[in-house]
Amino acid sequence: MVKKLLVVDDEEEICDFLKSFFEDRQFEVETAHSGIQAIEKARKFGPHVILLDIQMPEMDGLKALKILKEENPKVKVIMVTAVETQEKIEESMRLGADNYITKPLSLEYLENDVQEKLKGLV
């Protein structure tokens, strides 16, 4: 079965980079640039894993996280953000985030973590 990944970041460069990075690793990748777009894309696309930024226009990552997890408790959400405050980390965990990675990140770690989250799903 094909591995589906949704990348959510308001920076287009990061979306493009991660799309190409995971496509090279045989993922099917969709991108979204805001919380609202992420929810729409998730409904249509049905990703296994979502990489979710926090600081975004329209709807931020934490609000989106709550809705994404409500609509599909099985989806794995990895927060990928430049924000690194205890408050945001705790809130993410409370809302059901599966990991919290801060930018700049190690690509090797990110790839391993995504593969880890896919175990038992695909």
């Binding site: 990061i14 980079f17 930018k103 700049p104 190690s106």
Partner: protein
């Protein structure tokens, strides 16, 4: 492409660039423009956060800035800082094609070296890197130049690699220069702030000095009940006169002049009260004793080495412009300007104040009197400056500003 000429031009540019971030951006932009590559990226050691990070990246497959970091254990970093030595790879740069050939040739020998090669190849694949050129300074790995594949699909030529190596070397030198330059600037601003601190300490110290002087002066005037409390006015009048004369009233001279104005009669401490407060004219003997207050004043200030100029003012404030004053009979500009100011202000103050031997007279009368004696007793320039300054000040702040209470200003 004329590599040598380009290197010369780039080196010249680098010398002029003081900002490391601009230097790195210029280098990536330059390679991106002149070589058809999928991406050109520079990874650089970030001392403050103790990690390597992408400083800049250009091209179709560029790595977004601030998105990826490497720790010291990252395969590419450890390759250049340690692994390369025990794997015995002769080249000090990495080519993807070299690694692939090596791995293919040595497939059967499943050694540690082989595993190291595979790990580093994987790391290059993750970054879509086809060539990695390290930047060293002494034995420290400053960073790396990471190049994507050529758009035409060909491999890198030896002369291209040697060009990149030279470029990276120039870059490292320029970075170190910029760092050194920055450290000089930092050191400089550190010194400046220390200097400011010393300066503010000095100002605070002077303020304390000043409080002591003021209280001492008050004590002197306390012996003369008619003028008690007016020492502050004498000081203000002198300062505005100094400013009108164009003296530097923002700097040290303000303190000197102020102290001179406050302390000019400090020697009166040593004059017996019956002479000081005598309600009639002094006889010649008494007058001679009275005159010694300038010597006594100078004696009091003698031990204070910082107060040499103040002492000169105190000692000379009874000198006359025409040379007939005391104690030395100095003439004209050989009398310190501070003393010439004290002389005028003191005389003015005596005229308008009610004292034991005379009633206060109007300001206009005082001005006339000062002008009458300009050129003989007083320096005419100081007299005019004083009158101008006081007139201005009274216009601005009202006549009552200097003389309230027992002193009448106009008839």
């Amino acid at each position: 492409m004329d590599y040598e000429r380009i290197l010369r031009d780039v080196a010249k540019l680098m010398v002029r660039l003081k900002k490391p971030s601009r230097l790195l951006k210029m280098t990536t932009r330059f390679i991106d423009k002149n070589f058809q590559l999928n991406h050109t990226s520079i990874v650089i050691w970030d001392e403050a956060r103790s990690r390597y990070a992408f400083a800049d990246s250009k091209g179709r497959q560029k790595i977004p800035s601030g998105f990826v970091k490497f720790d010291r254990e990252h395969p590419l970093i450890s390759w250049f800082s340690k692994t390369r030595r025990f794997v015995k790879m002769p080249k000090d740069y990495l080519l993807r094609s070299d690694l692939e050939t090596q791995i293919e040739k040595g497939l059967k020998t499943n050694s540690d070296s082989m595993r190291a090669l595979q790990i580093v190849l994987k790391a290059m694949q993750v970054l879509k890197a086809h060539a990695v050129i390290p930047a060293y300074y002494k034995s420290d790995l400053l960073g790396m130049l990471i190049l994507g594949a050529k758009k035409d699909g060909y491999g890198f030529e030896a002369r291209e690699i040697s060009f990149f190596q030279t470029l990276v070397q120039d870059c490292s030198m320029a970075l170190k220069n910029a760092e050194y330059h920055q450290s000089l600037i930092d050191r400089n601003s550190q010194l400046e702030s220390q200097l400011r601190e010393i300066e503010s300490l000095r100002t605070r110290e002077q303020k304390r000095y000043y409080e002591i002087i003021r209280s001492l002066a008050q004590q002197v005037y306390a012996k003369d009940p008619y003028t008690f409390g007016h020492i502050g006015q004498v000081e203000r009048l002198g300062v505005i006169t100094g400013r009108e004369l164009g003296l530097d009233m923002a700097g040290r001279y303000k303190d000197i002049l102020s102290a001179g104005l406050l302390l000019h009669d400090v020697g009166k401490i040593g004059i017996p009260d019956h002479i000081l407060n005598k309600p009639a004219r002094l006889d010649p003997d008494e007058w001679n004793i009275m005159k010694t207050h300038v010597d006594k004043g100078a004696q009091i200030l003698e031990p204070l080495t910082d107060f040499k100029e103040v002492r000169e003012i105190v000692y000379s404030h009874h000198e006359r412009w025409d040379g007939t004053g005391y104690p030395r009979g100095l003439k004209g500009e050989s009398i310190p300007v501070g003393a010439r100011i004290v002389c005028v202000v003191d005389a003015f103050h005596a005229i308008v104040s009610t004292r034991c031997y005379s009633k206060g007279r109007p300001i206009e009368t005082a001005f006339e009197e000062l002008r009458r004696c300009a050129g003989s007793q007083f320096d005419p320039t100081v007299v005019e400056a004083f009158i101008t300054a006081l007139t201005k000040e009274m216009k601005r702040r009202g006549t009552g500003f200097f003389y309230d209470g027992e002193i009448k200003h106009t008839a």
